[in-house]
Every structure is written in structure tokens, then in C-alpha cells.
């Protein structure tokens, strides 16, 4: 961990959704989308959140940008709590924390020109003195994301998927944020365009020093661009570490299984280990104890009874498993 205070800190963050109200309006079921999530992110750093659908990674992103209100726990930005703020404070927060979504077809307003999409944050947050400053900033943003300056006068439908995602990124950069949450921001793009956008995000981070929370299910991309990784399973963080610790020396059986399931673009390498069977259980009724115990080939009675807490295992590496290295120990 870095010695300076982290830019973003999540303390015991929880997000539950309450379903199926009874006659009295009281919920009879609870979705445990996030449970007891503790994470930190420093300036200039990329933290990736990986996991299967339903693991809570998108809920985490939406909670961090305050699109969802956390059920419990704290969100700190520069050491100050931001989970309860509202009004002017929340507005100032929004200028500092921006988001890029997966689908550039639905995240851009089809009826306004690119110029207006990019300048809206400037007007909204009062970041430009006059019209000339707005025009200058819009041109700067278009240059930064590699779009021609004449794009400003055009509408989203005139652009391809990759170009639209560049517009969405430019919009997020517009108020000079300190943190961008990328929620599956490259997942919907074609292979040849995906590389362009991944490189663009890396370039922008180097240039501006912003922090990124990169939410993705694509492990190869994550390994390529991230500094640190948090692996989530059913609303809980099961393993955290820097990219070498996670991809070179994963200790949690779930992380191992997840990495080994990725098909490799190499026909000679068919040594895929099959560690996982079945599907993720429902987050409405997560299994007791370790939530992974129903699919873990090494689960013991302890795993079925007690929830493992995230603990340090050397370096920046943390796992939530009762055992130190279950996969190797069982082998």
C-alpha cells in the first residue's frame, strides 16, 4: 500500500436490494449485491473489479459514483465521507468522479451534437469562463480521444461503436475528474477496436494521472491494463492484489478457476483445468459460510459454517479463504 492517503476508500460497503414487499410493504427477500466490501484506490492507479455476472461488480461501480445509495458502510474520497452528501457537495463530487458505460449506443443522447454532449459538464459544473473557453476545451477533448475536430458538429449516429465510446470517454474527461469508473467500457466493442480503446485509456491515464476503477469480465484485458485487481464473488471480495499477485500467484480457488476458464488464443494449449461446475447461486439466498463453498472442490465443514474474512497474505495480496493455498495444498 502506498503511504499517502488513498484517493478512494470503501469501508464495509454494503448494498442490499429489497424485493417482494408483502401486504404491509415490508420486503420478504433481500438481494445481497455487495457485502462488506473494503477497497482502496490511489491517484493515478487502475483497480480492476472482475467476476462473473451477478457478483456485484456493476453495483459496486454504480454505488461508488453515487447512482445507488449504499445500504451501509462508507465511501471516502480524499479522506472525506461522500456517501451521505447531497446538494452542492454532491454536485462537486460528480465533477470529480465520472463514469463510462458499456454500450455507447444507449449512453449518448442521439438528439444532441457531440459539442453539446462534451460541453454540458462544463456548463453544469461552471468550469468554463466563456464560449471561447468551451470551444477550446471541446477541441482539446476531441484531440485527446483521437477524434477529428469536425466531429463536434455531428450527431452520435454518424459514428461507429468505437468512435462513440471515444465520445463517451471525452465526456467523462470533460470536467477533469480525478476518478473514472469504466463499467465494461470495452466489452461491447469489436476486437480490432477494443485494442484502440484500451490503449487510449492507458495513454489518458499517463497524461492526466487520473485513477480508474475498471469493471470487466475480460481477464486478459484486465491483466494487460491494470495495476491492482479485486476478484468478487456473490457480492464479496474474495481476493485482492497487484496484477502479478493475482495473475501469477492467485491463491483463492475461485480466482484460479476463473483464470483457467479463459479460452486461450493458442490451439496448441488445450490444457484447460476444469475446476468449476454449476452456476453461481442466487444472491437472494447466498450459501452460509464462504459463499463459494457450493462450487469449491476443496470446501470443508469450516467453509460451510464460517464466513472467511479478507486477510493479508504477504505484499499487497489479500484473500478471503480459510486456507492459505487450497489449490496447491490439495494437489
Amino acid at each position: 500500500m502506498t503511504t499517502c492517503a488513498p484517493l478512494l476508500e470503501l469501508r464495509n460497503l454494503q448494498k442490499h436490494y429489497f424485493l417482494r414487499p408483502n401486504l404491509l410493504g415490508k420486503p420478504t427477500a433481500t438481494v445481497h449485491a455487495l457485502d462488506d466490501v473494503n477497497l482502496t484506490l490511489s491517484a493515478g492507479e487502475t483497480l480492476s473489479i472482475v467476476g462473473e455476472s451477478g457478483c456485484g461488480k456493476s453495483t459496486l461501480g454504480k454505488t461508488v459514483v453515487r447512482l445507488h445509495q449504499p445500504t451501509d458502510g462508507q465511501i471516502l474520497l480524499d479522506g472525506r465521507r461522500v456517501d451521505q452528501i447531497g446538494g452542492a457537495e454532491l454536485k462537486a463530487f460528480r465533477a470529480r468522479v465520472q463514469v463510462v458505460f458499456q454500450d455507447p449506443y444507449s449512453s449518448l443522447n442521439p438528439r444532441i451534437r457531440v459539442r453539446d454532449t462534451l460541453s454540458e459538464p462544463l456548463h453544469n459544473f461552471g468550469l468554463a469562463k466563456d464560449a471561447a473557453a468551451v470551444t477550446q476545451r471541446v477541441e482539446e477533448l476531441l484531440d485527446m480521444v483521437g477524434l477529428p475536430r469536425d466531429a463536434a458538429g455531428r450527431y452520435p449516429h454518424e459514428f461507429s461503436g468505437g468512435q462513440r465510446q471515444r465520445i463517451a470517454i471525452a465526456r467523462a474527461l470533460s470536467p477533469r475528474p480525478d476518478l473514472i469508473v469504466c463499467d465494461e467500457a470495452v466489452s461491447a466493442l469489436d476486437v480490432s477496436v477494443k485494442a484502440q480503446i484500451v490503449n487510449l485509456l492507458g495513454d489518458i491515464q499517463k497524461k492526466t494521472g487520473l485513477a480508474m476503477l475498471f469493471i470487466s469480465h475480460d481477464l486478459a484485458i484486465v491483466e494487460h491494463l491494470t495495476h491492482r485487481v479485486a476478484v468478487m464473488y456473490l457480492g464479496r471480495v474474495v481476493e485482492v492484489g497487484n496484477r502479478r499477485e493475482i495473475f501469477g500467484n492467485a491463491l483463492h480457488p475461485y480466482t484460479r478457476a476463473l483464470i483457467s476458464a479463459v479460452p486461450q488464443p493458442d490451439p496448441m494449449n488445450k490444457t484447460r483445468r476444469k475446476l468449476l461446475t454449476g452456476d453461481v447461486p442466487s444472491p437472494i439466498a447466498p450459501p452460509p459460510g464462504c459463499r463459494f463453498n457450493t462450487r469449491c472442490p476443496f470446501a470443508t465443514d469450516l467453509c460451510r459454517a464460517e464466513v472467511p474474512v479478507l486477510r493479508a497474505v504477504g505484499g499487497t495480496h489479500q484473500i478471503a479463504c480459510h486456507y492459505d493455498n487450497l489449490v496447491e495444498a490439495a494437489a
Binding site: E52, S53, S160, G161, G162, Q163, D190, V191, S192, V193, K194, A195, Q196, V198, N199, G202, H217, L219, A220, I221, E223, H224, L225, R243, R244, I246, F247, G248, A257, L258, I259, A261, V262, P263, Q264, P265, D266, P267, M268, N269, K270, R272, K274, L276, T277, D279, V280
Partner: protein
């Protein structure tokens, strides 16, 4: 044994702004029991090719030419009535999104049974028994219970297993799978790919796999066709294609995907290779090579004359004027 032979397939769509040339001259053969992958990005024509084989394109707007020979008949000349006997019976289909391709108001058993009753004339009871067997075949736990459930009660992976069960119900000679695992999580994707491979071994079905995922292709395909802007740019055996790609587009694709293990290399991660630019519009006729605008090797010849698919070595063909020069070395 040759099962399917597609020759000079061409598909144009009529639209208000003129013709969309979705597929321009695609040819390939497929043998019994083999898996052919058709790889390409959006707009490459890979899905339209598969829809043409199944006769699922709207004849009012789509114009096909060329030939698709399956079991001695040209599928393009068959009537809708004749096609209906083949579809679901001799050719099975699996689509990307199992939630939209299953009927939400019919039980899983009804949907599997429908195929069996229609094509094989089974009784309601016999179809039910067979449907339970099929659910067991695709590794769905407790098939006797699941058979009466509805699609919304199943997870994404299980829905895709049901789709595969329906597609395999009549033991088709050919299974067309259009992005069958794209909507699934990696752990479930691995399970579904293993299932398809096992079933192929057991039943001898030939598979056409439409995908953009080169990892999936490496995992399961015997041969690969790479499509770009409606054209075949390269065709080869899978191992050969990955080891010796000849077309600059294929090479670009293989270079652009990040691979697991990059964190074990020393130093900072390198930039990913990029293929600059975008896929060309299919609304205007393309002169010369479709990839010329994005190709770093392109010369004047590339922009004036379209390259044809030529055999360069045993079982390896490429459509590139410069394939014999340094480009492919």
C-alpha cells in the same frame, strides 16, 4: 465425407439507401464430424452466411446467389416448405441469446418435444421421455423436474444447454452455432464448449461455429475462415492459421488480442497492437481489396484490383496480392 459445400455465396440486402453488400463471394466445404469456425467482426457477414444456409433471411429484402449444397440438394433453390423439413431436423441451430430464442411462455419440455413431434412424429409421451434424455445429455441436473420449468427459471448457462438440446433433438448432421457462448460467463462458457465437443464426438455432428472470439476458436475448431467486409480473406486449419497467419488482417487480429500471462513479463505492459481505422461501409461497392484502407502494406494494386482467394499451401488459402512477398513472412 463432404456434408456441406458453399460456392460463391453472395447476399445483398435491399434497403432505402441502396443495396447493402453483406456477403460477397464466400466459398467453403465442411466434412461430417468436423468443426468449422467463421471468424469476423461485426458487419463481416459471418452471421448472414449462417442465416443463408438455414434459409432464414427474408426473401423480400435479401438476394442470394451462388450455391449451398447440403446432402446433394442446393438449399438456395428449395421452397420454404422443403426448407422447413430440413431446419431443426437435419440442420440444428443455436443462437447467441438463449433468453430471446426460447419461448418464455412454454415449458422447456414443450419446446424440446415440439421438434421431436414435428419432425419425427413422436407421441406426446414419447417426446417427453426423449426430452428428459436430451436434458440429461446436456448435463442439466434433475431433468425430470427441469422439464416442466420455464426459461425464466433457468440460469443463462442452463438456457443455452436447453437450446443445444433442442438443436440436437433430431440428431442433425449439421449444427450451426452463432456466438453460442458470447452471452455467458467464462466459467459457464468453458462448460458449454466442453459439452459441444463431447456431443460432437458422440453424435458425429458437423459444427459451424460463428464467433468473434479467437480464444474459443482455438479451443474447438478444426478449420477457420476469417471474414472481412463480406469476403473470405483467409482459410486454414486452426493450428496452421494461428502459427502462420498470412493475411495482414488475420495477423492484425491475432496481434491485437491481449493474452493471459502478460503480467509475468518484465516491465510495464506494452501497448496493444492496433488495427487503425474502421470496417468499411457495405453500402458502397468496394473496389480492390476491402482491407486496403487499414492495411499498412497496401500498394496501388490493392486499391484497384480485388484479390482472389488462392491456395498457398496444403489446406491454407489467402486473398492477398502480397501474400507471396514479405508481408506474410
Amino acid at each position: 465425407m463432404e456434408l456441406l459445400n458453399v460456392q460463391h455465396l453472395r447476399t445483398h440486402f435491399r434497403s432505402a439507401e441502396g443495396a447493402v453488400r453483406a456477403v460477397e463471394d464466400v466459398s467453403f466445404r465442411l466434412e461430417t464430424g468436423k468443426t468449422l469456425a467463421i471468424v469476423g467482426e461485426s458487419g463481416s457477414g459471418k452471421s448472414v452466411t449462417s442465416l443463408s444456409i438455414m434459409g432464414l433471411l427474408d426473401k423480400k429484402t435479401a438476394r442470394n446467389s451462388g450455391s449451398i449444397t447440403f446432402g446433394g440438394r442446393n438449399l438456395l433453390t428449395l421452397s420454404e416448405r422443403e426448407m422447413r423439413k430440413i431446419r431443426g431436423n437435419e440442420i440444428g441451430m443455436v443462437f447467441q441469446e438463449p433468453m430471446t430464442s426460447l419461448n418464455p411462455v412454454l415449458s422447456v419440455g414443450r419446446q424440446i418435444g415440439e421438434t421431436l413431434r414435428l419432425h419425427q412424429g413422436l407421441s406426446r409421451q414419447a417426446a417427453r421421455t426423449r426430452a428428459i434424455d436430451l436434458l440429461r445429455l446436456v448435463d442439466i441436473p434433475a431433468p425430470e423436474r427441469r422439464i416442466d420449468e420455464y426459461p425464466h427459471q433457468l440460469s443463462g448457462g442452463m438456457r443455452q444447454r436447453v437450446m443445444i438440446a433442442i438443436a440436437l433433438a433430431c440428431e442433425p448432421k449439421l449444427l450451426i452455432a452463432d456466438e453460442p457462448t458470447t452471452a455467458l460467463d467464462v466459467t459457464v462458457q468453458a462448460q458449454v464448449l466442453d459439452l459441444m465437443r463431447d456431443l460432437q464426438k458422440r453424435t458425429g455432428t458437423a459444427i459451424i461455429l460463428i464467433t468473434h472470439d479467437l480464444g474459443v476458436v482455438a479451443d474447438i475448431a478444426d478449420r477457420v475462415i476469417v471474414m472481412y467486409a463480406g469476403r473470405t480473406v483467409e482459410e486454414a486449419a486452426t493450428a496452421d492459421l494461428y502459427a502462420r497467419p498470412m493475411h495482414p488482417y488475420t495477423k492484425g487480429l491475432l496481434a491485437t488480442i491481449p493474452r493471459l500471462g502478460s503480467s509475468l513479463l518484465p516491465g510495464e505492459p506494452a501497448r496493444l497492437e492496433e488495427i487503425p481505422g474502421q470496417v468499411p461501409s457495405l453500402r458502397k461497392p468496394i473496389h480492390g481489396c476491402a482491407f486496403a484502407g487499414r492495411c499498412k502494406f497496401s500498394v496501388d494494386l490493392c486499391r484497384s484490383k480485388a484479390p482472389v482467394l488462392e491456395r498457398k499451401s496444403e489446406g491454407h488459402s489467402v486473398a492477398c496480392h502480397l501474400a507471396d512477398n514479405g508481408v506474410s513472412a
